[in-house]
Each structure stands twice: as structure tokens, then as C-alpha cells.
Amino acid sequence: MLPFVFPRWANKTRQIAGVVLGVAPIYLIGLVWYGASPKTTDVGYMPKQPVPYSHALHAGELGIDCRYCHSTVERAGHAAIPPAATCMNCHRFIWQESKKLGPIRESAKSGKEVEWIKVHDLPDYVYFNHSAHVTRGVGCATCHGRVDRMVQVFQREPLSMSWCLDCHRAPEKNLRPPEEVTNMSWKPPGDPVAFGKSLREKNHIDPPTDCSTCHR
């Protein structure tokens, strides 16, 4: 029986292995670096909307409560995007001629929806519920940032699973009295953690960390 002879190219194995071993750590570091970077989690994602609606103007300067438009936030999973009719409540009287409001007027007239671009987009296997958070005292600004200062809305937080769990494991630092949830400039009186702890006790807040809490 003939002895097995390695083919000639096998001589290069060591060099190849050397290169692979050399490159592997760089690749791994790069992978983790990139995987955890805001670019991956889309922090700062700021798509152009069909109507240049400014939260800074409406929620900030004019002080309209979040729930005037996102009216279902306390009752439903989704904080619904307002129908064109809500915009027209005011814009029937002001800026009736504005070009920028064209798509809204068009929608109100034709019944066809305005195609807003979703900014805070969770994966489809995550079942997030706004009402469960808002009624318990997690402020809008906690996850969405100071929307009242955003001319164009962008994603402020990573919305990653670890980010969710950080709060579910220690909600104190993000709690406020439920009546203050839409107050963008709310500041805890005194030590935020101590205040959060007292709220947590008072409102029996014990966020679950089970898989099925969000994944079904």
C-alpha cells in the first residue's frame, strides 16, 4: 500500500495558518467593535420625512403635549402616529397655504395616508408595549431623548436588548411619577436613584426579565 504523501501545496499550510491566526484577533476585535458601535444600533438614524415636521417647534416651543398627537400611548402597544385630521385641527386655520404641509392637506382631502418613515424600529420578534411603560412612569424622553429639541427626529438610544435589560434590572434611575411622563424637562427632586427607589416601591414596579416578556 502506498504511503500517503501530502500534496505540495500543503507546505504552505503553516504560512496560511500564521496569517489566519494573525488576522483572527483583528477580525474579532473589528467584529465586536462594529457590532457594538452606534452605527450598528443605528443611534443617530435620522431619515428624511415626507413632511418636515418639527418636534422642536410643536412640542418644544408651542408646548403641545406628546399625547395630543400620540393619543394611544397610554392605552395601546403603539404610540400611534396621528392621522392627518389631527394636523388639520390647527392647520385648517394656520399655514393653510404652506407648501411643506402639502402632503398633509392632500391626505386629509383624499383619505390616502402620509408615508412617514419609522425612526425607532425594533426587530419584528420584539413585542414592545408603550402603555406598559408610560403608565408605570417611564418618561418619553428616557427612550426617545429630548424630542422637544429635535427639529428632525432621530434615534437617541441604541434600543438594543442590553439597553432594555439595563433598565428592566434596575429601573430606579429612569422612573418618574406617571403624571410627569410627557414632561420633557422633568428633573428628579434630589438624588435620582433614591427618588426612583421610593417610586418603585410606591408603584410596585418590578419589571420582568423573562424572555417571553418581549419575545413571543
Binding site: 395601546a76 392621522p83 417571553s212 413571543r216
Partner: protein, 1020 residues
């Protein structure tokens, strides 16, 4: 192995401990996952998709597909996007309406459930109601008006059809509608009856013909007994003794099945000492026979003589007043002298006589009118009328016998006397008796119009086909089993521009109301005239207080019945003279659900066959015919023949072969069979053998082996719970199914409990400390009737894929909940037990301990959470699961509907319509992922959030799992075990409660309540 000695068996293979069974036992997923061949379409498609998605990934960086948010322009009142709403409606099947509550998610119906307030439903829905949702989104439903001339198919429009109606009716009006015929299924709808009246008023010479596949023997029996057709329905809750004469009274094919099942189990609560007794005399094992305390297998043709003998015996005991007429003379039949039958009859008669006014006798739809009349008579003799059997006027039906009028119609069509034929909803080209040859007669009608949901066998032979709106798309009405007016309201506009039967009839009748809503409102103008009353009725789904008055009909003396030699069982029943029984199918009914893949994939509750039908025969009959299971046989009946595989059904009467109707369709659709698309028919078409004479029971069947074998997709041996785990516990009571008789139960209520033993220790520490809710379930085997409604409810709720026949044969069926069926005793007369097996949600879960990636984790409330995103498909969990409840996605079964990646977006309109049936609250799983019952965790979470938002605690019974919700007998109860007052905690504390394979120390959260039978002491 112990299974050889085990007294319970699931299949004959297990009873014999055959090699095939042992292989199934050892290998959970029967066939090894074969490598997908490199050139197979699946693999090619996978590579394409991978290539495409990688290319796109480069373009779009790591951002997934841009999602759009599309708000309303004007938000409708009370509409919260993403929050489900519930609407009451009804579905009519077999002439009786079941009240439903349908979940609508952002405007699309996604789940059908029973309406708790409705008298027929009481919150339950059967498998047909549950699966009707899938039919709504069936891409094969017809999408347009179609005109055919000379074989050429042409897509037309409603406008063109209206023009035709205008032209036709002008001509018809001149001669009083002489050539106009309407063929429809019998319906309890008052609006349809009103429309019929209007049509016949406009065209006095026109005729309305009713035809159904289940026949009108019931009505004819009432006519024979009382001289008038009454609608009778039992109230089984008041009965101590119930007798079924070949009647599957709790089965899904019985129009009152849900109400009957509810009533029957009301009187079967051994814990309170209240147990009725159910006797069943039947040829083919049915659900009713399975739950019966005593079952007598008897050929269907012998039931008449049996009933006459029973009448003689009961009357002799009860001595009824003379005005009820003389009893039947006891037929001189040899089979009645058989000691077993003799004793059965004697005990039954005395049991009935002892329970006067508290017994009920029901005859099956396929039994001749005489048997129905005898049942009525015996109910009268036993003073049951008005107590356990109620009579109400039959409001809608035409007095003609269905088959006679259909025959007359066919003759008229042949003679050219019919120029306009409107067929509503029915499919006579398939279902009419074969000897009528309805299909060829259709060619003689100059304007034949078929209104149907599908372009089916009939539609293809008609000049015009009109798309019929689904019941979830149209307005209508119908009557509940007790006659209560039930309303049908649409949840969605017709997806394909269909119209309801009422709307099409309005066109013909020249009615000034054309909209379904207007027509229905007009019908009930007197009753529900005010908007307030109408809105309340629409909201409730029925109009309270509209139950027609009870009647106490007087019996007409019944003349002495004549019996043929066969009916006395005197002639031999060897091959060539076998009995053939046609039965509606437990899954496709009469064929109308043949294109519903949920139902096709479902296993028949008793034969456990999915995807098809077979010639059901007892093992002994098969042995005499030298036929093996799965062998292709040819059934020949009066020159007509049919080939299909044989299947052995224990408990089948000897000499009887049963076939179910509704299979073998060539124009059902891409699921049930479609010639032009190359989709082979599923099963064999038993209508081909059905004739006017032999419509239900045929006397002269011959069976011949034709050579060849067909794999029957049965699921009976899949997921057999491994008895290897039982070794070492032989000395203990550790059967999976535990049951006792009422006597035994009274003596030893704890019979199902295991003997006390050393506490079992675990190597593992508890993953969580249970402080909050502890979800648990109890399943009462005494209440379970094995009807499969829970299985379809689970499929609908949890987006469970259908895998198809080939994969079912390979053991890749995906249904999360299965109903195990066990036999006990001899194959000729087995006792049957059902056992629904969902995930047992073990506290000490073996699956969790072996998952290498943490894809199945324990929640703080005791659920075994399944995290699809982590799952890499090792299937270790499944091999370690002693209950065999985990299912693996071998393929992307939903690929065509959802796309495999966000970059591969489905744009095909038909696929998108199918997509609408998904429950958005549940992840649609992809290939390579394990899945299993979650206790409907989406419902738990939803209720928890709702309760927390309102700062209250969850009420007991507030969370209902999908299976529990639809169960007609409330066999399944779910709740919080931490709350000792909860129903589930109380049930689990009953002495009858036991857990499966307790000795493995899994600490399952599901407990079963052992079944208690109530045999008569003299027959036990």
C-alpha cells in the same frame, strides 16, 4: 418491553409491537433529515436567496428594511391601531348557526372564537368555525365573475352579469318564471327564506330546490312521527341516560354538536356524584361512541331493527297511553338473539324506563326516517318530550324530499325545461348522487349560474360563475340550534368583490333593496326595527328572546315497519354484500373545506389519518378480505367503483366499510386538488359511489385488492411517549391515561394518585423562585370528547405552519397541541380515551437543561420560554422532552408568505392575502428553529399589561388560552396556581388529578383529571 403488556394501545402496530412502531418510538422524527440534494429546488432557491440577500446587505449596510408608518387620514372612532377589536357574528353549517366572536386586528379578522352569550356556542367553536378563517384568506377563492361559452373561459364582470339578469328576467317575467330553478342548500336564514318568497312571488312558476349532502332524513322522520316537520334538539344537560342510534351527536359534523357536547358533559361531573350514562349503537367509531359508557358496534342497516326491538321492550316496560299507538313488534332477527346484543338491549331498555323524562334518544342523519320516527316515538313514550328533547316549528325548509326534488330537477334539465338555473353555494356536480349525472344535465341548461366561493366542479360546468362572499365578508342571518335568531355581520369588505347569496337573489327578484344589510334589516323590520334594537342585536350577535316557542307535538301512531332480510341481519355479509356507509368527514365536512390546509393536515380524531380518506374497516373484516393496512382496494357498488387505501379502525362493526365524503376533488384548489395546476386530488371521491338508492347506507359492496400500497399519513404513532421511561416504575400505577368506573371512583377517589414515595431529588436547583403567578393548566379527560377544535384554535392563534402530506409521513407535523387517542381492550370493541397533550411546562424542565445556547429558558412564572432567535436547531431539547411536545421547522414553511429576509419582500398579492391570516402577536418562525406550546404567552402578557395599566390584579379566568377558549366542554382550564381560589388550583387539587410521568421529577404544570366511566352494573 412493557408496552407489550400495556393495556392501552394507540394503534394496531403498537398492540403488536411491530418493527415500525419500535422505530418510531426510538426515533422521534421518523425519517432522518435527509440532506437536501444539491440540485433540488429547495436548495437552489436557498442559494438564490442567500446570494440576493448578501448582495443587498452590501447596498443597504446594516440597516434593515425601512419601515413605513401609515396613519389614517381620519381615524375611525374607537379604533386604536394595533389593538384588537372583537365583533360578534355567526357561521351557519348544516342548517344551524354557531355564534362567534371574531378578533379583528387593524381591520382584518385574525381569529374566530365562540360567542359566550350565544345559546348554541356558549363561547365554544368547533374546528370548522376555527378554520373558516383560513378559507377567508384562501388565495384560491374565486376573484371575478367568469363566463364560459363552449368551453372557453372568460373573465367577466358583475355589470355584465347584471345585464344578463335584466335580459333573462324580462323573458322570465313573461312566462311566470317557468324555466327558472334555484338550487340551494337548506338554510335556517330568515332573510334567505324571505328572499325565496319574494322570488317565487315574482316568478310563480319558478321552483326552489333544496339539496344537502347530509340529507333530510331527520325532517322526514319528524313528518312520519308527527305528521309535521319539527326542528328538534336535545337538552342533554337534563338527561340521565342518552342513547345515540348511529348518531355522532357531539361530533363536529353534527349541526348541534357544540351545544350537545356542552349539554352532555354538564351531566358528567363525577366529583359531585352526577354522572349520566351514554349508550351508543353505531357502525363506525365516532366521537360519541368513544366517550360512551357502552358502545355496541352494529352495522348501520341493523340499527332500524334494533330500534324497533328497543321500542317494543321499552313500551312493554313503560306501558304508554293508548293514544301513542301500538309499539313495534319485536323483529325476529337473529342478531338480536346474540347474547351480547340481547343483554345490551335489555339493560338499555330498563335503564331508559327507569329514567322516564330524563333520557334522550337521538338518531343519526344517515339513518332512514323510520329510525328517526322510532326515536321520536320512544322519546314520547318515555315522556322526554319537552324535558330532554325540545321541539320547535321548522320555519324555513321546503316540504319536499331533497333527493326527489333534485331528481325531478335533473329530469327537467335533461328535458330542456329549465332555461335558467341558479345554484347557490352548493356543488352538485360533485355532491349529487352519481346516478343522476347532474354534470351532464347541466349542459342542457342555457343559462346556468353558479354562485360559490370557489370556481369548483359545478362552476366549471356552468355558463356563469359568480364569486360568493365569505360569511366574514357579508351580512346575513341564521338560526341557532334552538331557533334563536343569529346575525351575521361582515368584518371586512369582500376581498375579491364577492357578493352574498341574498344580494344575488335580490338581483333576480328585482328587489329594490340590493345591499345585504338592507335586506337583512328589512326581514327583521318588525322585530328589530329601531336602530337601538338592531344595534344591540348586531353587537350581541343574536337577538335575545327570539327563540321560537316550544311545541308539544302529538305522536301519530306508527304503522308496523317492514324489514328486509338484510335489515334483520339474516343475509350474509361476505364480500359482495358488505355494507358501505357514507359519512361526512371530520375535517373537510362534505368537501367544502377541502382546500383548507389546516383541516387537511389535521389528524382525524379516531383514525389519526391526515391528508386523505380511506376505506375504514375492522381488522377482522380486513383479514377476511385479505387486505392489509394501506393496501389499495377497489370498492365496487352497483357497477361504480373507487380506489382508495384501506385503513383499520378498531371498533368498526364487522361487515361495514365506511368512507368519508369530500375528498378526491379535482377543482378544489392548490391544497385539495386542482387538475390544471397539477395538484393531485387529496384522497378519493366517495361521491362517485353514492346513488339515490344508496345515499347513506349501501348494501352490496364488494372490496377487491388491486395491488399497490399507499402511505397513509397517520399521526397515531408519532410522538409516542417512550415507555422506556416507565421501566422501574412497574410496581406503581403509572399509566399515561388513568380511568376508573364510577363505582371504583366512589370507593377510592384517589385512584389516579400515585403511591406515596420518597421525595425525588434533583441535580438541579430551581432556576427561579416562584413568587408571582404560577401558570398551570388542568385537562379533564372526563370532559374531553376528542373533537380537535382546540388543535385548530392553537394553529390559528400561533401561526403554526402546515407541512403537507409527505412531511407528515416523515413525522414532521408541526401542530403544538396533539390529542392522543388510546384504545384499551380487544380491537373489536375497544374502549377509547383521548388525551390532549400541550407542552407540560415542567418546573424542572428537561429541555432547558440541554439547550446549549439558552434558547429555552425558564420564566419567573414557570413557563418554558422558547426564544426563537437564539435557537440553532440542535433538537437536543426535543430528544430530552419525555412528552414529545416540541416541533422542529425543517423548512421555511411560511417562506412564500413572509420572505426569508427583510430584503426578500413578498409582493405577490395572493401571498400577501394569505399573510393576513397571521396573528401579529406571535412570531412567524423560520427554518431551523424549535417551537412548542407557549401557554399562549402572548395572551398572558397582554392581560398582564392591561391589568397593570389599570393597577389591578388579574382575575381568575381572565386569561384563556386558545385551546381552552374554544373547548365546547370546558375540559381545559388555565390559570394561576398561586391563587388557591382559582379554578385551575381547585381542579388540580381534586383527587382525580394526576401528572404525566411524575416519577421523572419534571414537575409538570399540566395536570390531568382522570376519566370516570359510568357503566351499568349489569353490563360492566
Amino acid at each position: 418491553m412493557k408496552s407489550q403488556k400495556s393495556s392501552y394501545w394507540r394503534s394496531l402496530a403498537e398492540l403488536e409491537n411491530s418493527a415500525e412502531f419500535r422505530e418510531l418510538l426510538e426515533r422521534e422524527f421518523a425519517a432522518p433529515p435527509e440532506n437536501v440534494r444539491l440540485d433540488s429546488p429547495e436548495r437552489r432557491r436557498f442559494m438564490q436567496l442567500m446570494g440576493a440577500s448578501l448582495a443587498l446587505a452590501g447596498v443597504t449596510s446594516c440597516r434593515w428594511q425601512k419601515d413605513k408608518l401609515l396613519p389614517f387620514s381620519q381615524q375611525p372612532e374607537n379604533m386604536v391601531p394595533g389593538e384588537p377589536r372583537f365583533f360578534a357574528t355567526s357561521m351557519e353549517l348544516g342548517g344551524s348557526a354557531n355564534g362567534l366572536l371574531v378578533t379583528s386586528y387593524d381591520g382584518r379578522p385574525i381569529k374566530v372564537e365562540g360567542n359566550p352569550e350565544h345559546p348554541s356556542s356558549g363561547g365554544a367553536a368547533n374546528l370548522f368555525h376555527q378554520a373558516s378563517l383560513l378559507s377567508l384568506y384562501d388565495p384560491d377563492r374565486s376573484e371575478s365573475v367568469v363566463q364560459r361559452s363552449g368551453g372557453a373561459r372568460q373573465v367577466s364582470s358583475w355589470d355584465a352579469f347584471e345585464a344578463l339578469v335584466k335580459e333573462r328576467t324580462a323573458a322570465l317575467r313573461a312566462n311566470g318564471g317557468k324555466g327558472l330553478r334555484v338550487l340551494a342548500e337548506p338554510s335556517s336564514s330568515p332573510s334567505l327564506a324571505d328572499m325565496r318568497r319574494r322570488l317565487l312571488a315574482a316568478f310563480p312558476s319558478a321552483q326552489w330546490i333544496e339539496f344537502s349532502t347530509e340529507g333530510d332524513n331527520q325532517q322526514a322522520g319528524s313528518l312520519l312521527a308527527f305528521g309535521s316537520p319539527y326542528r328538534s334538539h336535545p337538552t342533554l344537560g337534563n338527561a340521565n341516560v342518552v342513547l345515540s342510534l348511529d348518531c355522532d351527536l357531539v361530533g363536529p359534523t353534527h349541526p348541534f354538536g357544540v351545544a350537545n357536547a356542552r349539554g352532555l358533559v354538564k351531566g358528567r361531573t363525577p366529583d359531585s356524584g352526577n354522572m349520566n350514562r351514554l349508550y351508543a349503537v353505531e357502525s363506525t367509531l365516532t366521537l360519541t361512541g368513544s366517550i360512551a359508557d357502552h358502545r355496541l358496534p352494529l352495522r348501520s342497516e341493523l340499527v332500524k331493527a334494533f330500534a324497533a326491538a328497543l321500542d317494543a321492550e321499552v313500551s312493554a316496560k313503560v306501558l304508554p297511553p293508548a293514544e301513542l299507538g301500538p309499539a313495534q313488534a319485536k323483529p325476529q332477527a337473529n342478531f338480536l338473539k346474540d347474547p351480547k346484543v340481547f343483554k345490551f338491549l335489555a339493560v338499555l331498555a330498563s335503564d331508559l324506563a327507569e329514567n322516564r323524562g330524563a333520557s334522550a334518544i337521538l338518531a343519526g342523519a344517515h339513518q332512514p326516517p323510520e329510525v328517526h320516527a322510532l326515536a321520536h316515538r320512544m322519546n314520547a313514550v318515555l315522556s322526554n318530550i319537552g324535558r330532554t328533547v325540545l321541539y320547535r316549528p321548522e320555519l324555513n325548509r321546503t316540504p319536499d324530499r331533497e333527493l326527489e326534488s333534485l331528481k325531478r330537477l335533473t329530469e327537467e334539465m335533461r328535458a330542456g325545461a329549465v332555461d335558467t338555473l341558479l345554484i347557490i353555494g352548493a356543488n352538485p356536480a360533485l355532491t349529487a348522487p352519481a346516478d343522476l349525472d347532474f354534470a351532464s344535465a347541466l349542459g342542457k341548461v342555457s343559462a346556468s349560474i353558479a354562485l360559490g366561493e370557489y370556481e369548483d366542479e359545478t362552476a366549471r360546468l356552468c355558463n356563469w360563475h359568480l364569486p360568493l362572499a365569505h360569511y366574514l365578508e357579508s351580512w346575513g342571518d341564521a338560526r341557532a340550534h334552538d331557533g334563536t335568531l343569529s346575525l351575521i355581520q361582515p368584518l371586512i369588505l369582500p376581498l375579491h368583490g364577492g357578493r352574498s347569496a341574498l344580494e344575488v337573489l335580490a338581483l333576480f327578484a328585482g328587489d329594490n333593496r340590493r345591499e345585504g344589510l338592507d335586506i337583512v334589516r328589512r326581514t327583521h323590520a318588525a322585530l328589530l326595527g329601531s336602530d337601538r334594537a338592531w344595534n344591540k342585536a348586531v353587537h350581541d350577535g343574536f337577538a335575545a328572546g327570539t327563540t321560537p316557542p316550544r311545541f308539544f307535538p302529538t305522536l301519530k301512531p306508527l304503522s308496523a315497519l317492514q324489514f328486509s332480510a338484510r335489515e334483520l341481519g339474516d343475509s350474509n355479509v361476505s364480500n359482495g354484500a358488505l355494507e358501505l356507509v357514507f359519512l361526512p368527514d371530520s375535517k373537510v365536512y362534505d368537501g367544502r373545506f377541502a382546500n383548507n390546509s389546516w383541516l387537511q393536515e389535521l389528524a382525524d380524531p379516531l383514525s389519526k389519518q391526515s391528508w386523505g380518506n380511506a376505506a375504514r374497516m375492522s381488522p377482522k373484516t380486513a383479514a377476511e378480505l385479505r387486505v392489509g393496512e394501506g393496501d389499495l382496494v377497489q370498492l365496487t357498488l352497483a357497477g361504480r367503483s373507487l380506489e382508495l387505501p384501506a385503513i383499520f379502525t378498531p371498533g368498526q362493526a364487522e361487515g361495514t366499510v365506511a368512507v368519508s365524503l369530500g375528498y378526491g376533488r379535482h377543482a378544489a384548489g392548490h391544497v385539495g386538488g386542482l387538475d390544471e395546476a397539477g395538484v393531485e386530488p387529496v384522497g378519493a371521491n366517495a361521491y362517485a359511489l353514492r346513488t339515490i338508492e344508496a345515499f347513506h347506507i349501501a348494501p352490496s359492496l364488494s372490496v377487491a385488492r388491486v395491488g399497490g400500497h399507499q402511505d397513509i399519513a397517520t399521526t397515531q404513532d408519532l410522538y409516542a411517549i417512550d415507555p422506556v421511561g416507565k421501566i422501574g416504575s412497574e410496581g406503581r400505577l403509572s399509566e399515561l391515561v388513568r380511568e376508573a368506573t364510577l363505582e371504583e371512583f366512589k370507593k377510592e377517589p384517589h385512584f389516579a394518585r400515585e403511591a406515596p414515595r420518597e421525595p425525588l431529588l434533583s441535580l438541579w436547583s430551581d432556576p427561579v423562585s416562584y413568587q408571582g403567578h404560577r401558570w398551570g393548566m388542568s385537562i379533564d379527560l372526563n370532559r374531553c370528547i376528542g373533537c380537535n377544535a382546540c388543535v385548530v384554535a392553537c394553529v390559528s392563534e400561533n401561526n403554526i405552519p402546515v407541512v403537507g402530506k409527505a412531511n407528515v409521513i416523515k413525522g414532521r407535523e408541526m401542530f403544538w397541541l396533539r390529542v392522543d387517542r388510546y384504545f384499551k381492550g380487544p380491537p373489536e370493541e375497544p374502549q377509547v380515551s383521548f388525551q390532549p397533550i400541550p407542552c407540560q411546562q415542567c418546573e424542572n424542565a428537561p429541555c432547558e437543561q440541554v439547550c446549549p445556547v439558552g434558547a429555552t429558558m425558564h420564566s419567573h412564572e414557570g413557563l418554558n420560554d422558547m426564544v426563537y432567535n437564539r435557537c440553532i436547531g440542535t433538537r437536543y431539547c426535543s430528544s430530552n422532552c419525555p412528552y414529545k411536545v416540541r416541533r422542529f421547522n425543517y423548512f421555511n414553511y411560511h417562506l412564500d408568505k413572509v420572505g426569508v429576509t427583510p430584503f426578500n419582500v413578498v409582493t405577490d398579492r395572493k401571498k400577501l392575502i394569505q399573510h393576513m391570516a397571521f396573528n401579529p402577536e406571535v412570531t412567524v418562525r423560520a427554518r431551523g428553529v424549535m417551537e412548542k406550546c407557549t401557554f399562549c404567552v402572548q395572551r398572558i402578557e397582554k392581560t398582564k399589561i392591561k391589568a397593570k395599566n389599570a393597577r389591578r390584579s388579574i382575575q381568575d379566568g381572565e386569561i384563556k388560552t386558545a385551546c381552552q377558549q374554544t373547548c365546547p366542554t370546558d375540559a381545559i382550564v388555565f390559570g394561576d396556581l398561586s391563587d388557591s381560589a382559582s379554578q385551575v388550583a381547585r381542579l388540580q387539587a381534586l383527587p382525580r388529578a394526576y401528572a404525566l410521568l411524575e416519577e421523572l421529577n419534571n414537575r409538570p404544570r399540566v395536570r390531568y383529571l382522570a376519566r370516570v366511566r359510568n357503566p351499568h352494573p349489569e353490563l360492566a
